[in-house]
Assembly symmetry: none
Homo-oligomer: 416 residues x 2
């Protein structure tokens, strides 16, 4: 049915966690975009038996096997001899590969060592894929009704080969369907509650559209995937389902695909030509950081006052000394006055404030670590919300910032 692929990453530095395997993720995205289903990714050691066993394992399970790594000039790079052994062929000097090597080395004014020259010897059954950006050529094999592709592990060399050589050849060789994904971003509801709420919709989804839940910090993403032959039709079908979904959960949907809660808040402000500022205690700048991570945020974000002391809360934000004495710095009233203070001082339409106990120290029985008040000052009044988070400082900082943005987004949407 589907054309399937396995991705093999070869290298001890990946297995030891010394480097991130960004290649495999990138290849996954590229294959997904042309309708090839990656059914497995494997990371293995640069050891002969491992490579041979894995080639066999993958050949039994996938139509296409993409291999990265293990093609350098040093002795511990075994991919090429293993492929020759696997297919039971010799290697021989490939003239085009040697010409390319010689040109490259001349250009960089390096001498071509025997170790380097070795890179121009290729298994006799492969098609050479010229690597414009490096010395190790890519190799394309078609054996036992399976495509094997070997590429260097250096990301930009691999990407060049994929884009210019491998993807076009795969499109030529396989009859590929069109796959269309759309991710729906929700906030303000947990995964299981959302699942309960939208069950009638999920149960009625057509068989050719599949639904996945992708939870992340303080939000849940829903991914719809569908396969067919006409992209326009798939887009139409998915959008129709999203319209139906909205009758169950529209109040939680803040965006799609690459949208973030900070970009959703920014979009709402942009449309109305409104502005925002922040006053931060426990989030310590992270809330402003999320807002300013969006390109063009200077159109609606004016600034922030981070007040890590009571004195700054009083002097810069105008929190009343009485409030601090009566209710303490972590209180609804302090959050309210912080938001109102910065809104007035920075002359913005709205202002968000956070004050809480990020931890790990500083909690009490009445106010444990993770207690956070957020406040949103608006032209028509100030709204507040209490959060009970975790014992972990970084998590509390991130969750408070995201919750503050979600709170603003919900308030904006409800009042419009």
């Amino acid at each position: 049915m589907h054309t399937t692929a396995h991705i093999i990453s070869i290298g001890d530095e990946i297995l030891y966690g010394q480097i991130a395997d960004t290649n495999a993720q990138w290849i996954s995205q590229e294959l997904d975009a042309i309708g090839i289903k990656v059914t497995q990714r494997l990371t293995i050691s640069d050891v002969k038996e491992e490579i041979l066993n894995t080639l066999k394992y993958c050949e039994e399970r996938a139509d296409i096997i993409l291999i990265t790594g293990g093609l350098g000039p040093t002795e511990d790079d075994l991919t090429k001899p293993c492929l020759a052994e696997y297919f039971d062929v010799d290697t021989k000097l490939n003239k085009e590969a040697l010409t390319h090597l010689t040109t490259l080395f001349k250009r960089f004014k390096f001498e071509l060592t025997p170790a380097n020259k070795q890179q121009a010897y290729l298994p006799t059954n492969c098609t050479m894929l010229k690597n414009e950006l490096g010395t190790a050529p890519g190799m394309w094999f078609f054996e036992n009704n399976t495509v094997f592709v070997s590429m260097p592990g250096v990301p930009f060399e691999m990407k060049g080969l994929m884009a210019n050589k491998v993807i076009p050849k795969l499109k030529e060789q396989f009859d590929l369907p069109i796959i269309y994904h759309k991710v729906i971003k929700t906030i303000g509801i947990g995964e299981s509650w959302l699942a309960d709420k939208i069950k009638p919709w999920a149960d009625m989804l057509p068989a050719n559209i599949s639904l996945a839940y992708l939870p992340s910090l303080r939000e849940v993403k829903l991914r719809l995937t569908t396969t067919g032959t006409t992209k326009e039709l798939l887009i139409k079908e998915v959008n129709k389902q999203i319209e139906l979904l909205k009758t169950y959960a529209s109040q939680y949907i803040y965006g799609y695909n690459t949208d973030t809660i900070q970009s959703a808040v920014g979009d709402l402000l942009n449309v109305k030509n409104e502005t925002i500022s922040t006053a931060e205690s426990c989030t310590g700048g992270h809330l402003a950081h999320l807002i300013t991570s969006i390109p063009g945020s200077s159109a609606y974000f004016k600034g922030s006052i981070i007040s890590y002391t009571n004195q700054i809360k009083k002097e810069q934000l105008g929190v009343s000394p009485n409030t601090l004495k009566l209710y303490g710095p972590v209180s609804e009233q302090t959050a309210k006055e912080m938001a109102e203070g910065v809104r007035e001082k920075f002359d913005t339409t709205y202002a968000l404030a956070t004050t809480g106990i990020a931890g790990p120290e500083g909690g009490s029985k009445e106010q444990p670590v993770g207690t956070v008040w957020i406040a949103l000052a608006t032209p028509t009044g100030t709204h507040t919300k209490l959060l009970s988070l975790t014992k972990h400082r970084m998590l509390n900082i991130e969750a408070s910032s995201k919750s503050a943005l979600a709170f603003a987004w919900q308030t904006f949407v409800q009042s419009s």
Copy 2:
């Protein structure tokens, strides 16, 4: 010989390239640190046969199998039923897991749905690993002389389980060699220049100590690894080598292991009972966020003014209108006045300021995107530095913040 492990990541969102599998890399690092050799990592689909086949495949090849993902309350999460089927056991209600769930839901004031309650049913042959940070418990199995561990895919939940439950149990169950790593953190010098500078030292390292370069954003980590039977001896040997290293590169070493440039700056301020504040334009709060990510930072950090408009630079930071007119907001003079302004206003020993063009828009021929001025105001005068960074907004924000901290650290160290 070695105790070996396989890591299985379950989830279509990884195979489709929609999210990076940061879990597998992190687990690799943790296992490496305790002397367990990761011999393979596999990413597979949330499909029953795939999970069952992969469990069998890994059981034949490794002593330990660590599984992440597929433990949510929704229907597409199959890891638990697959494990029960694989071991041919039933699931039953685990009372401790249910108590934990009930407590969590009460705390968040949510109702426990049947879907949620399902998470407290566990295969009868497993040891429950309490997940303090979420609803899906970890599971530990010991069957056929192999350890199987199932953990949720949410990174902070998985990390909590690994650190508090899995690593201690693995250390107990297996006779692991003693591996001692020490990471030396350097800043202010690129990888190849550092390598040149310390070459005489690296060439003389004893055979039982290996050196790895781990470059990351704006810094280079050096990791020394040694294996033996007596930890004290290993520590002594490694520390001796670090003393020798210092004769080549002491001015770049800001700390070790989990130290960060923000914790190094904080330590220096703490020792002298000094304080700091920030005035941020292009970093938009990220600099304050780095500083406040350190527990106890409220002892030395008073606050920040984030000025995303010229008006706030003038009104709140006291930047002279003439400066803005003559030199513009992205200039050495503006950075200087911002730092001096917030230092005076917040009454701190030091103040750091940033102003620049984060991008992607807003650059010009004279001032391309990535142009950033940083300033450090001190009791004896203000120091400035110009950075020429990239075209990428997030990278520019992060690199500017880190560079500002590195600049402060270098100034503090040189003046002490």
